[in-house]
Symmetry: C2
Subunit: 420 residues, 2 copies
Amino acid sequence: MTNNDFPELLGIMREARKATDGLAAFDGRARDGFLEALARLLGEESDSVLSANEKDVQRAKADGAKPARLDRLLLDRARLAQVIHGVEACRCLDDPLGRVEDLSTMPDGLVVGRQRVPLGLIGFICEARPGAVVEAAALAVKSGNGLMAKPGRESGRTSGVLGDILAAALARAGLPRAAVRVLPDLDAEQLRFMISQGGLLDLVIPRGGADLISFVDENSRVPVLRHFQGVNHLYVDERADVGMAVSLAVNGKCDRPSTCNALECLLVHRARLDDFLPQVCDALARRDVTIYACPEARARVSGLEEALEHHYGREFMDLALALRVVPDMDVAMAHIRLHGSRHTESICTSDLATARRFLSLVDAGCVLANASTRLNDGGCLGLGAEIGISTSKVHAYGPMGLRELTTTKFVVLGHGHLRS
Amino acid sequence: MTNNDFPELLGIMREARKATDGLAAFDGRARDGFLEALARLLGEESDSVLSANEKDVQRAKADGAKPARLDRLLLDRARLAQVIHGVEACRCLDDPLGRVEDLSTMPDGLVVGRQRVPLGLIGFICEARPGAVVEAAALAVKSGNGLMAKPGRESGRTSGVLGDILAAALARAGLPRAAVRVLPDLDAEQLRFMISQGGLLDLVIPRGGADLISFVDENSRVPVLRHFQGVNHLYVDERADVGMAVSLAVNGKCDRPSTCNALECLLVHRARLDDFLPQVCDALARRDVTIYACPEARARVSGLEEALEHHYGREFMDLALALRVVPDMDVAMAHIRLHGSRHTESICTSDLATARRFLSLVDAGCVLANASTRLNDGGCLGLGAEIGISTSKVHAYGPMGLRELTTTKFVVLGHGHLRS
């Protein structure tokens, strides 16, 4: 692959790079001006957004898309209002740039600090809901970064309208329009070219399933922060509050099954087979959840499907759930180590020492005690908004907000200091 | 390439992975016990280390290695004492693990914090001085990580002895010996195999020249933190103190030319052609430094070589330096943007506003004012020690110490919190 293969895309990337470098000249007020204009324009243009989305949804339906996929694609008035709210929440956050942190004076008088700076031009490739591109752009520009976004093709019309709104908002705020580009129509070869441009892109964030992640892993010549699937567990301890455990399971699975922080597998302590198990199965059945359970659970509760090996470690993206009975927390943690995707892991227990041990030992971007897996979300955890949830440990682990879109450089002030 | 190609290496990696996971069970005191044993053993075994190094140096001499390369390879008694001092300094640092940071309670009562955890198993590939492996192991284990180190082949005997000492120190501290491996004899195919094992390695840190970095970039299936070459500049402003500027230039270039933070290019404001330029050229000539200068400088001072295009953006690794006269700081910063490697950039000025502007706008892992480029070093900047200096922005930018070998996971404590 040479630079002559995709001259048009290369031109767009070079423009985006230049515009990104140009963002350094604008202060926080100008960047917030973009967010203000964006929120206003999304409101003003909501009819065009919704009608473009309707066409996308109809097209996907005609193509035979499954309910979970359709639900992810859908952008209705309530969800658009949430997106606008997210943009406004992001505007209200402190400017992440410029601040010098960890300032200290060395014994020889050298003053050392770390100044927060943007990462640069970010490639954002997502199969997620269409609003994700708007939130990604809001976070990127607020933190001084440029964005090349490639949403899924199925959201092409919606993304086209949102891309126009983003460009208009940049222009209104006096920022370079080329700093954010939305390119739903890139094909695989163009995408491969884009993520191989190490001199132009500083980071790639893929947000999607196994195929997308491995495509990016194999082809990127740029650092990658994976937003991989969430194979998320809830371990119900022997000392769990049964009512709380049932509501955590139902909320985790049913609140929005198509999202990455939905619950996929229940691990139940053997001591709770008589009370929790029948109650949770009953509550889930009333929500039409199919349960794939181990033999021990099936012997206690009727109507459960048989769990095959492939049901563990699976992201159902649907009203389906795996269930396994475990003799103790160590077996539960071993199951999570083997089958989890380091995304969201949760325990329900009323014993604080047990909760602390689980929180400390389980390896995932977000580990919760007595809280729904659905709360692993930048907004719920105080980040304002998120561009994704990292399932790899380098740079960021868990939800990525403004701070995760920046880095620090060392700034040093001396008065003739030498090394000897 | 399949997993059957290098069964022995794969076995070593699996053992290292298992030992790394096992490190989680040891507290900070046990990890510090390793550093204590390491410092003691390095002292006790210093004669074996030095005599192995003598053989490596003789062999490299016979193979026609250049002085800078020989200097980098050399581990004499004074340098070994520095390495031991570095290990002891690292032991005295606070335990980076376990601490929960940024603890806050959300409006709904959800308690959210970030717990510092190790990255995992780190691949460290270096062409640097042999002591670097010891410092890398000290930092890795102190921060709960395992290490697979591949030093340069030319340091094979020294690295072999150091690897034995590391294993003995782990054993003395009761830690799993397999958590640190030193493998100087891996060939390119084995190295390619090692850095493609995404399921076993969590991070690769290559520390070396352009060939090594691009080899790793092309073959790694694991996140990479590049420690690339340092093409470092000193810009001497029109309001610089001449004596200070001369000493910064001489220290930057001559203190240890084979290191990555040595000075490679002087940018001189046109207003200082009459005083600074002749003085610095004289001082550098007395240290046998060859200067490749632009026509404007050569017209003022005799004895300067002609700067060709390839002299700019070059890491000489030797007593050689490029020099260019610039009309103002903006041209200097544009030169740095074009030719620098984002490693270490420095200004000499007595005007605070100018210094602040340079520190804020120049994009490099470490930007200094009135201080030698040689001070871009984990020890000098308060990190205790360093495993490398990152020239890419993701995860770390600049010197990488203990904190850069860790990440944070979100830990969340609720009392039945749901998403609605």
